[in-house]
């Protein structure tokens, strides 16, 4: 025993003597020579983490023989003993962990490689957006933009498409959170994500056949090693004068019990533009996620629960009554409600809660096959409060409860040159629209039943050429109960056409029971060719079918923040999309790039089209109806990385999209304009992994848009004046500069990282075409952020 104390004393003494300390550095990469960002390197009590280029540096090691552990989620840990007596370079190559591959279906396998390309966010990027949302973080991927309502409700847009066209798969469960709504952001906490990736296009058939735009995959942190690992991120922002704290603990295991737990609190007040306070734009979040897993010799069983709870204030100035108010709001340039800063959130606001509970069971079968069974329950409650009179002030204007049960069984087998995947899925959903709101609900009560079956075959023709083909069948049935105003029923031309679905007569309203059944077939084929020199070409063709969502079928009423009447149509047919895409990838130590051109031809594309003006006692309203056309979306995304020197790196993201309504030969509405982001990053690896980064975000003016401007008689001054209501013209382009710097420190067993950033350095006032509130307010101005990350 004494000898150990002696050794310890020697080590301790050694660690105090600078001359006896050495540095271990090197690179962590996969067997495909892809650098691993965020790998852990441990020697005794010392830690280091690899940077995006895979490089790491672990200084302060006492000379001697040490056990070195290099680990990365999803890869087999490297565990070895190294004699370290002087500065040493150790390059680690990690092999994928085979048990992890069952869950990460799209990761490359040694044999047949997937032809579907996945764009993944770096761990550092996920942490950077700890205080914002998934939609904000995903913007860092070329070709992904965001559709915003104000500054906190952010939806991802993939190659111009969003909402029902871009399913979000959270922890292998398809998120059912009223995702049809453009003002409904994904109900999940970005801090619970360990890995976030985007698949552009509908190639990933195991998740569904209706991803016309693409898929967002969010996977939780999973630690395989036998360690207890914790992380805390504290973020403080000047704009909004608040911050967030998120903490998580992970217990990994090779066998036996493993668990994860995490929690997040956010508290933000009113945001500010360069010139004024955006009154009522604070938000709160309190989220929790945990799972417990038992890992047996050839199976594992896991139970997961997560809860997302958010209150989001919506700028009060965007609540308007009619077109006259809209014209005044557009012409005034400044919002009509500007009050001093406050943390208080009044109306309008959204209060949303999302519960997700699931059980899954994975088993290794004989002959290299695996089976995964999953049951998930989701409960989503959405209340939207509006500015209302009298006793209604505290009653939600929209109150929806959506419950979804889903089951999945997925089987996968790898044999020789081939990989087979097959599965079945089923789900049952019930939507309950509370009549207590006193407002006819936007979305009616309905029951929905879905069932799907798929098969995917991957084959390696040679070590450099792989092919993939998949097919999927989906059945869906909706059974709704909806009241229609009789006047609306007639105006929509339903009288005499849909008489058979009327089941009740309530004076001014018909009670109806619309039922729809859909049979859909989706398919994809792809090829992947490695040319050597780290050059790879992937090509895919996919066919997707998407059923009309509840708002496209049933919408019926006034949309307050737009002053529009939006009408669904029971005659809406399903959308069919055929997407051709290619990805050319080059990875190299000096220069890498990724170029993705695509062509998406959508038949029966569902969109909101202006059809006229209606007069009510509240005033005049333009009417938008869900119509169908054929659409063609053609574009390309480009990402490059260039290591100019070993310290300086340049990255570029660029995306261009040309989207046309081919029946009317008009451009499609709300398509992202050309955008180019340049990032220059300086890294001093040997000095606390210090980095400094300048990012320039340039968004051009969208010149292709449909002209939906209309004339309305609006009281101006003291007369009724026929006025052109300019709702279509996109705002001018803009350029923003952002700056971030940070460094890492070792505090005993804890690794601490401090990041300081300034967003919108020049406090530029601008408006974004893809913000639903662009007619009313500017975007937020400059923000200073301080972030402290602790890994222990």
């Amino acid at each position: 025993m004494r000898i150990y104390f002696t050794l310890l004393a020697v080590f301790l003494a050694g660690s105090w003597c600078a001359y006896s300390q050495v540095t271990l550095s090197g690179k962590v990469a996969t067997t495909q020579n892809q650098p691993l960002d965020g790998a852990h390197i441990h020697i005794d009590n010392l830690h280091a983490m690899s940077l995006p280029d895979g490089l790491y540096s672990l200084p302060g090691i006492p000379a001697g023989s040490h056990r070195v552990v290099v680990s990365y989620i999803g890869y087999k840990s490297l565990d070895t003993v190294v004699d370290i007596y002087r500065n040493l370079v150790l390059d680690a190559v990690l092999n994928p962990e085979s048990t992890q591959l069952q869950e990460v279906v799209l990761t490359e396998t040694a044999q047949a490689k997937s032809t579907v390309h996945e764009d993944r966010l770096k761990a550092e990027t996920i942490e950077k957006y700890s205080n914002t949302s998934l939609g904000d973080a995903l913007k860092e991927i070329a070709g992904v933009s965001s559709l915003k309502t104000g500054s906190t409700i952010v939806k991802p847009v993939i190659n111009g498409l969003h909402s029902s066209r871009v399913p979000v798969i959270s922890n292998n469960v398809r998120l059912e959170d009223q995702q049809w709504g453009t003002e409904h952001a994904p109900n999940l906490d970005i801090n619970s994500a360990g890995r976030v990736s985007v698949i552009k296009g509908a190639g990933a058939l195991q998740y569904g056949g209706d991803a016309v735009g693409g898929l967002v995959l969010v996977e939780p942190v999973s630690v395989l090693k036998d360690t207890l690992f914790g992380r805390t991120i504290l973020t403080a922002d000047s704009n909004g004068r608040g911050g967030s704290v998120t903490s998580s603990l992970h217990q990994g295991a090779e066998k036996g019990w493993a668990w994860n737990a995490s929690g997040t609190f956010k508290y933000m007040g009113d945001r500010e533009t360069p010139d004024y306070v955006l009154s009522n734009t604070g938000n709160r979040e309190a989220n929790f996620a945990s799972d417990v897993k038992y890992i047996g010799s050839n199976y594992n069983l896991q139970a997961t629960y997560s809860f997302y709870n958010a209150t989001i204030g919506i700028a009060e100035a965007t609540h308007i009554g009619n077109v006259s108010d809209l014209v005044r709001a557009i012409n005034n340039q400044e919002p009509s409600v500007i009050r001093p800063f406050t943390y208080k959130i009044g109306a309008p606001r959204q209060e949303v809660q999302h519960h997700l509970a699931k059980l899954n069971f994975n088993k290794d079968l004989a002959d290299g096959a695996t089976l995964a069974l999953q049951y998930a329950f989701q409960l989503n409650r959405r209340e939207e409060f509006d500015l209302r009179r009298g006793d209604y002030a505290n009653i939600a204007a929209l109150d929806l409860t959506l419950s979804t049960h889903s089951v999945n069984a997925d089987w996968k087998k790898t044999a020789n040159n081939a990989t087979y995947k097959a599965g079945v899925s089923g789900s049952m959903q019930h939507n309950d629209a509370s009549p207590a709101t006193g407002i006819r609900p936007l979305i009616p009560n309905y029951d929905k039943l879905d069932a799907g079956v798929y098969g995917i075959y991957q084959y390696a023709f040679s070590s450099s050429l792989s092919g993939e083909a998949g097919v999927r069948y989906d059945f869906s049935r909706i059974d709704a109960t909806k009241y229609y105003q009789k006047s609306r029923w007639d105006a929509l031309g339903y009288n005499g056409v849909f008489d058979d679905i009327i089941i009740g007569d309530y004076s001014s309203q018909w009670l109806t029971n619309p039922k729809f059944t859909y049979h859909n077939v989706s398919a994809s084929v792809g090829l992947r060719k490695d040319f050597g020199n780290s050059l790879t070409l992937l090509g895919n063709v996919s066919l997707a079918m998407r059923n009309p969502n509840p708002s496209e079928l049933f919408s019926d009423g006034l949309h307050h923040s737009n002053a529009t009447i939006e009408l669904g149509d029971l005659r809406t047919q399903k959308e069919k999309a055929l997407k051709f895409s290619a990805t050319l990838l080059k990875t190299g130590s000096a220069f890498s790039f990724e170029l993705t051109p695509y062509l998406n031809s959508i038949n029966n594309f569902i969109y909101l089209s202006p059809t006229g003006v209606e007069y009510t006692i509240r005033g005049t309203f333009p009417v938008y109806k869900y119509m169908q056309t054929n659409a063609l979306l053609a574009g390309a995304d480009l990402h490059t990385d260039w290591n100019i020197t070993s310290h300086l790196k340049h990255s570029l993201n660029a995306a261009y999209l040309h989207a046309t309504n081919t029946l009317s030969s008009e451009p499609l509405i709300d398509m992202p304009p050309l955008n180019i982001t340049n990032t220059l990053r300086y890294t001093l690896q040997n000095f606390h992994s210090l980095f400094a980064e300048v990012r320039s975000e340039a968004v051009f003016t969208q010149t292709r848009y449909p002209n939906n401007n209309f004339n309305a008689d609006v009281p101006a001054g003291n007369e009724l004046v026929p006025t052109l209501v300019n709702i279509s013209t996109p705002p001018p382009g803009y350029q923003l500069l952002h700056f971030t710097t940070g460094a890492q420190f070792a505090l005993g067993k804890t690794t601490a990282a401090i990041n300081v950033s300034v967003n919108n350095i020049f406090n530029t006032a601008y408006r974004d075409y893809l913000n639903r509130q662009r007619l009313y307010t500017d975007e937020v101005g400059r923000n200073f952020q301080l972030q402290l990350k602790l890994n222990y």
């Binding site: 049960h405 309950d432 001014s508 509240r618």
Partner: protein, 187 residues
Amino acid sequence: MKNFKTLVLALVTIVSLSACSNDDTPAPVNEEEVITTLTATFTPTAGGAPVVLTSRDLDGDGPNAPVKTVSGNFAAGMAYTGTITFLNELASPADNITEEVHEEATDHQIFFQQSGLGTFTYADMDANGHPVGLNFTYTAAATGTNGNLTITLIHLPNKSGANVANGDITNAGGGTDAEATFAVTVE
């Protein structure tokens, strides 16, 4: 494997139990908050039959346009005492929204927009000394004319905005709860 069977059984039970969720017909929503009817009554101060302007929209935000009636013409140079009432006739008995506007007077203001028809003067105040417009006086133009009179009820206006207290809607902000334009004649 036994555990697995138990698990499957448990899942099936959960699914089938929750599948029996209520398929009850939801209650119809009769919008109680909506204003269907705006009535402006102009009583000559010198006595005589009042002039009544009514805009009635019995399907609320539905597709049918409001039905407007004007009971008669104004007399040139005549002074009138005016009152405005708001009803929701979808409720039975009809709901008098005027009282709500009166109770929340600080959150409401009525605007009269016209050109050359005469002068409108507010005759009521809220608790902060700002005009409301449920009561007003109107003096018709001295000579015969005709034109449009727009009456607008704004919810949550900025009552201290420039000229808002004088009846100028330009800087009032807020949201329109009712807006009706009447073609009227002064003779």
